[in-house]
Amino acid sequence: MSSSFLKTTQVCRIYTRGPQEIRAVSDVSLEIKRGEFVGIIGSSGSGKSTLLNLLAGLDQPTSGTIDFNGTDLASLSRPKLAQYRANNVGMIFQTFNLLPHRTAIENVELALYFTQIPRKKRRQSAKQTLEMLNLGDRLDHRPNALSGGEQQRVAIARALVKQPDIIFADEPTGNLDKVNAGQIAEILKRLNNDGLTIVLVTHDEHLTSKYAHRIYRMDFGSVVDQRSTEDMK
């Protein structure tokens, strides 16, 4: 594991709803090293998904900095942030977020629309990634013809196909049964073993304690606890 390449300093995200201010994320400072498997845990409404969105460049903080390889994501323009999402980030969601009218391979290919990969190579890369995740026989199936586990694997393929620096997974097992959840966690672990940085948001402490190198616990928008699995051993 090398030095940190994603680091937040005093990050706040405040939403304004009429006269009311909601501090979804409050003064969060954390560090993610290249090749690390980081777990962010906490109960519903603790701010872990909001933090993940900030780290993934889907949202920008109200204050604080998010440093990615020397670039502050908080100060990036919207097009630059989109570029960051396209080239550096892969996202996996609890509800898979596959486009229902597209086949598995088309859904995966879609992630390459926003990269510099030529049109001709897209399909080939998408196919290889799906085959890697044992979905070679499901290429032309639409999401509604796939099981939950398969859909999530397609979503992982979509996140992986552009070879990102980091994968953010927001409750990836939340909609899956135990067996499928285990399979997905194993895939993520395998990818991490291959050197990919993984940030996993979940409320399943068992999952993070089994696979993560470092765990951040959040409550009321703040990091209340931080430990590495080494510490736990």
Binding site: D59, N97, F114, R119
Partner: protein, 486 residues
């Protein structure tokens, strides 16, 4: 994201929402169809007029005539339209040919038929101008002095000849009764076999000492002498005849432009006109007022024409020639000026029809806005996913704009086809009506390339304008909220 990706996504989405897209498309198709069919009526009418003008060479034809006194507040009288003036006109830049227009009443004998009609004389080169050159059969005269005639097809109808070709080679005897000053003067002295002195016998010379009687006799006899002069001029005419061979038959459309039923070679025709006046009362008054009555009409320098036609060289504007002729003191009528007015009228006409079409298009654009807004609402989560995958705002905007443009362009293409279909049906119906009313059927609709281009461009522009707001809204959507959207 390439433009092909954007089009693929747009087409895919339209295909997915077939019913909604079809209904929106239908709105555009109907609007563009209405726009095209209405403007094709204007374009067709304009095309007809310009084709007629062009076919007859009217855009290069100027009619020159003398000004009547006090015409339009202008009290200056035109100089005489004689051969020296014609030469001056011929020397104006851009003038190809100047030829006089003269017509006379003639009597035609053909087989056993005798009837009166009008004839005009024309030089061979004038007959070759566009105004005359479209022949149904035959050829122009051999020379200006040939004993030949070119006739209109309406004229051969009156000869009971049905085919223009069978008229070629037929002989016509043309006679002109011409009045001369001699016959008019003789008429003063002799009328109805009675000499002037026979009338004078009725005068009581002894009573001439009485002033009242004397003035009554003078008034009566003077009036009577004038009456006899006019009567002699108009009625006691001599007849000039010639046998001419028909060599050509002109198209009847020429009739509309004052081409007389019989056209004679210039020198042949002069034989009739040089002999005297046609017997038309207005000619007599004109001749009296101009002082030409007692001049020898055979003298070429003094011969005056009532009307002259100028044929312009191609590519020259009518304006400088018309201006020069007006500056010479003549009245100049240019069909090109008329055509400009007609073109102006059609511009307003097209504009009026276009506005109606645009209203329909505006209504259809509301349909596009509605469809796009619904599409954005339904695809909100998709927009979130695309943004999470790294789509730029401008790419999202482009995606929806292209979708809107696709509706506009596909709608325009089918709208043009619909408009063309409507115009074909309307054209067929109008032709049936024209035939039933005994009018030659003409094509009143036209679909020129510019109209197709305008319709396509308009459909595309309106759809882009309609899609602009929804696509901007889609581009601005917050990715986090969009991903949460159920």
């Amino acid at each position: 994201m390439t433009i092909r990706d954007v089009i693929d996504i747009g087409l895919g989405n339209m295909w997915r929402m077939k019913l909604r897209t079809s209904l929106t498309l239908l709105g555009v198709v109907i609007a563009i169809g209405a726009f095209v069919s209405m403007l094709s009526l204007g374009a067709g009418m304009q095309k007809n007029v310009s084709e007629q003008f062009d076919k007859l060479g009217l855009l290069f034809t100027i009619q020159v005539s003398q000004k009547h006194q006090e015409e339009g507040g202008d009290t200056t009288k035109s100089p005489s339209l004689n051969d020296s003036v014609l030469t001056k006109m011929m020397n104006l830049p851009g003038v190809q040919l100047v030829y006089p227009f003269e017509d006379y009443q003639v009597t035609v004998s053909f087989d056993d038929t005798v009837f009166n009609t009008k004839a005009q004389a024309l030089a061979v080169n004038a007959l070759e101008t566009k105004l005359f050159s479209t022949m149904q059969a035959g050829i122009p005269f051999d020379s200006d002095s040939a004993k030949q005639a070119v006739v209109t097809d309406e004229f051969i109808d009156s000869l009971k000849i049905t085919e223009p070709d069978s008229a070629i080679g037929q002989k016509l005897i043309i006679s002109v009764k011409v009045a001369t000053i001699d016959s008019a003067l003789i008429h003063i002295f002799m009328k109805d076999g009675k000499f002037l002195w026979d009338r004078l016998k009725g005068i009581r010379f002894d009573s001439l000492f009485y002033r009242e009687y004397r003035s009554r006799v003078v008034r009566r006899e003077f009036g009577d002498a004038v009456g006899r002069f006019i009567d002699g001029y108009l009625n006691a005419r001599t007849t000039v005849s010639d046998t001419l061979t028909i060599v050509g038959v002109l198209n009847e459309t020429r009739q509309r432009f004052r081409v007389q039923p019989i056209i004679l070679p210039l020198a042949t025709g002069e034989r009739f006109s040089a002999a005297g006046f046609s017997g038309d009362m207005t000619d007599l008054i004109g001749a009296l007022s101009s002082g030409q009555l007692f001049q020898s009409s055979a003298s070429p320098t003094s011969k005056s024409y009532s009307r002259v036609t100028i044929d312009l060289k191609r590519g020259y504007s009518h304006k400088p020639v018309v201006d020069s002729i007006r500056a010479m003191g003549f009245r100049a009528f240019s069909y090109a000026e008329d055509f400009e007015e007609i073109t102006k009228f059609f511009t307003y006409f097209d504009l009026g029809l276009g506005v109606i079409g645009l209203i329909a298009l505006f209504v259809s654009s509301l349909g596009i806005v509605n469809t796009m807004m619904m599409s954005i609402t339904e695809r909100r989560r998709e927009i979130g996913v695309l943004k999470s995958l790294g789509a730029y705002e401008r790419e999202i905007k482009l995606m929806f704009l292209v979708e809107s443009a696709l509706i506009g362009s596909i709608g325009s293409v089918f709208g043009i086809l619909l408009g063309w279909g409507i115009s074909r049906v309307a054209s067929a119906v109008s032709k049936i009506i024209m035939i039933k009313q005994g009018v030659d059927p003409i094509e009143v609709f036209a679909l020129p390339w510019w109209l197709i281009a305008v319709a396509l461009l308009l459909g595309l522009t309106v759809s882009l304008i309609a899609g602009y707001y929804p696509s901007s809204r889609a581009a601005r959507l917050d990715p986090v909220e969009s991903l949460r959207y159920e």
